[in-house]
């Protein structure tokens, strides 16, 4: 008995290494290693992307420092570069887009999640998903051939006649400009707001609605005062997601914003956005400072979307933790 009791612990490491060898022979360790390399390459690519953007924009960082972000001048010939006009254009177009997209998107999400029976809601959601798959250059084409003429002949004159006293709606309307880009962006981000908000609204527990209705509230009151507030962090998440998309959107904005580096209080005026200036000038950039200034703009765009996406995910996680999934899944 005593010999076996001595024998057993000494056999343990032997047994372990044998199982490792046998696992190696089975191919488990090899499979693990190979798949690990693929997974690690995702992390490496991401780190490499940040690294490349950072080192490829060192010249303007040294020369202009933080002044890069508050300077309006963008003069490739004099080699003076400031990003303010582009940051302004990006922020204004994204802002206009959200002003239009938030009410429409949340309204549609409420309809899909609260009102429509599943037989109606699911097909509609299918179309929304398809809408999210439409490439941005197609939205750009529609912007060029439909929104721009509409802006010239109908939207701008109507706004001028009704709200013309505001500085926002002053000045000549060329068709291209901040408002046009904002409208096209709004159309593009609405599907994102709808899809995420619908999911969040569906995860609100059923008893919340029932309690509100039992207390005598109307259907709308239970939706607007109980269900939507319950889901508000998740809805905010969908808005941040949409904002990140709107800020980084390139093709559609490039095609309709007018590509004129100017800051104007009028939404009818043509402007420029960060993504658009990169798209237009990158291949024509002569000189390292010019090219690196454009890459620095790309870095700014990257950081903005990085922060917004992080916030969006955080908010959605928070609602997921609260909702605890008693609604329709």
């Amino acid at each position: 008995v005593s010999t076996t009791s001595i024998h057993v612990p000494s056999a343990d490491p032997v047994d372990d290494s044998r199982s490792f060898l046998s696992r190696l022979r089975n191919g488990d360790e090899i499979a693990r290693l190979i798949t690990f390399l693929f997974a690690a390459s995702v992390v490496l690519l991401t780190l490499l992307l940040v690294y490349e953007l950072w080192i490829a924009s060192s010249l303007p960082r040294q020369k202009f420092g933080l002044a890069f972000f508050v300077t309006k001048l963008w003069d490739p010939i004099a080699e003076e570069f400031g990003a303010l006009t582009f940051i302004y254009g990006t922020v204004v177009t994204a802002g206009v887009a959200l002003l239009i997209a938030i009410p429409l998107g949340i309204g549609a999400a409420i309809f899909l999640a609260e009102l429509a029976p599943q037989k109606v809601s699911d097909p509609l959601q299918f179309f929304i998903d398809l809408l999210a798959a439409v490439p941005s250059v197609i939205y750009g084409v529609l912007g060029v051939f439909i929104v721009i003429p509409l802006m010239r002949t109908w939207i701008a004159p109507t706004l001028k006649a009704t709200l013309g006293f505001l500085p926002l709606f002053h000045g000549p309307a060329y068709g291209v400009g901040f408002l046009t880009a904002g409208i096209v962006l709004a159309i593009m981000v609405i599907p994102y707001i709808i899809s995420v908000s619908r999911e969040v609204l569906l995860s609100v527990p059923r008893d919340q609605r029932e309690a509100a209705l039992a207390l005598g509230s109307t259907r709308w009151e239970s939706t607007w005062k109980v269900v939507v507030p319950f889901a508000r962090t998740g809805i905010m998440g969908s808005i941040f997601l949409a904002l990140a998309r709107a800020l980084g959107e390139t093709m559609a904005v490039t095609m309709v914003i007018g590509n004129t580096p100017s800051i104007s209080s009028s939404l009818f005026a043509p402007g420029y956005s960060i993504a658009a200036v990169i798209a237009n000038e990158f291949t024509e950039a002569t000189g390292d400072l010019y090219l690196q200034s454009l890459i620095q703009l790309g870095l700014v765009l990257f950081l903005l979307t990085f922060i917004l996406n992080g916030l969006a995910r955080l908010l959605m996680l928070l609602t997921a933790a609260r909702g605890s999934g008693t609604g329709r899944a």
Binding site: S41, T46, L104, A108, S136, L142, I187
Partner: protein
């Protein structure tokens, strides 16, 4: 009191109707886009569109054969690069990794997914175009491939995790090694989901223009091999739509219709494949 109740009910009915209007407006956009493209582009699609090269400025006619082949080449390269990384990475996440490594990989993938496509273009430019000193299909394929990775990875992982644990345990209990379990039981059980993930990633990058602007660059002629600037369908739509020539604009509609048709069909097929599978539940 009664009047107040009636007022509240009126408000309720009105607001609920408005949400319906929002939904209808949102969905109507899709049919509007489709209708407009079919109406304007349908007339311009003919045999020449698929078989001829673009004509010089001022000469009407011609087609986009080079752009169609170019897009196919770029998407081939992108899939070759992006799908294996996404697929095997997902297997690692779902079957092998501990929670800490998994978190890092998922975080990186989500980060990559949120990067604006134009920034991906800059990255591919710095990594592929600069060292070789010229634009190429390789650079464009690389840029699109990077965009395919996070989409493939994250949804493939979801579908792998959706495979019931009992299947894993049954295979292991029969003496199969882990990789054999994965290769013969888990991946086949989730293949519809995986196929859907790959198709959706493919459809997503098929319409991308921004990352190609300074990687694939564009080319009005045939581009033999993979090491030269190459044309793509979305880039052609962009160039032609903003051009001042009516004939080019007409062809932009046609190219847009072909592109959107392709993307929507792939999307619908992908969702159809998934809907027919019952083993994997909706997440």
């Amino acid at each position: 009191m009664n009047a107040r109740l009636r007022w509240r009910k009126l408000i309720s009915a009105f607001m609920l109707t408005m949400t319906g209007v929002c939904a209808v407006v949102a969905v109507a956009v899709l049919f509007f886009i489709l209708g407009y493209l079919v109406f304007h582009g349908g007339r311009s699609i003919n045999w020449d569109f698929f078989t001829k090269l673009p004509t010089p400025v001022g000469e009407t006619g011609g087609g986009m054969a080079n752009a169609i082949v170019g897009s196919a080449k770029l998407l081939f390269l992108a899939s070759l690069f992006g799908v294996p990384i996404g697929f095997f990475g997902a297997i690692y996440l779902a079957e092998f990794s501990g929670s800490k490594t998994a978190f890092v990989v998922r975080y990186a993938a989500d980060l990559l997914n949120g990067v604006p496509s134009i920034v991906i273009g800059i990255f591919a430019y710095a990594l592929v175009v600069l060292p070789f000193k010229h634009f190429s299909a390789y650079a464009g394929g690389f840029a699109l491939g990077i965009m395919m990775i996070p989409i493939t990875l994250r949804s493939t992982e979801e579908f792998l995790l959706g495979v019931p644990n009992t299947l894993r345990e049954a295979a292991m209990a029969l003496g199969a090694s882990k990789w054999k379990t994965i290769a013969t039981v888990i991946v086949p059980a989730a293949y519809r989901g995986i196929l859907t993930s790959v198709l959706l990633a493919f459809a997503r990058v098929a319409g991308e223009t921004a990352p190609l602007l300074f990687t694939a660059f564009g080319n009005r002629y045939w581009s033999p091999g993979f090491n030269q600037p190459i044309e793509s369908l979305p880039h052609m739509v962009y160039i032609y739509a903003i051009s001042p020539y009516e004939d080019w604009q007409r062809q932009a509609w046609a190219a847009g219709l072909v592109l959107l048709g392709l993307i929507l069909i792939v999307n619908i097929v992908a969702r159809f494949i998934l809907a027919r599978g019952v083993a994997v539940q909706r997440s």
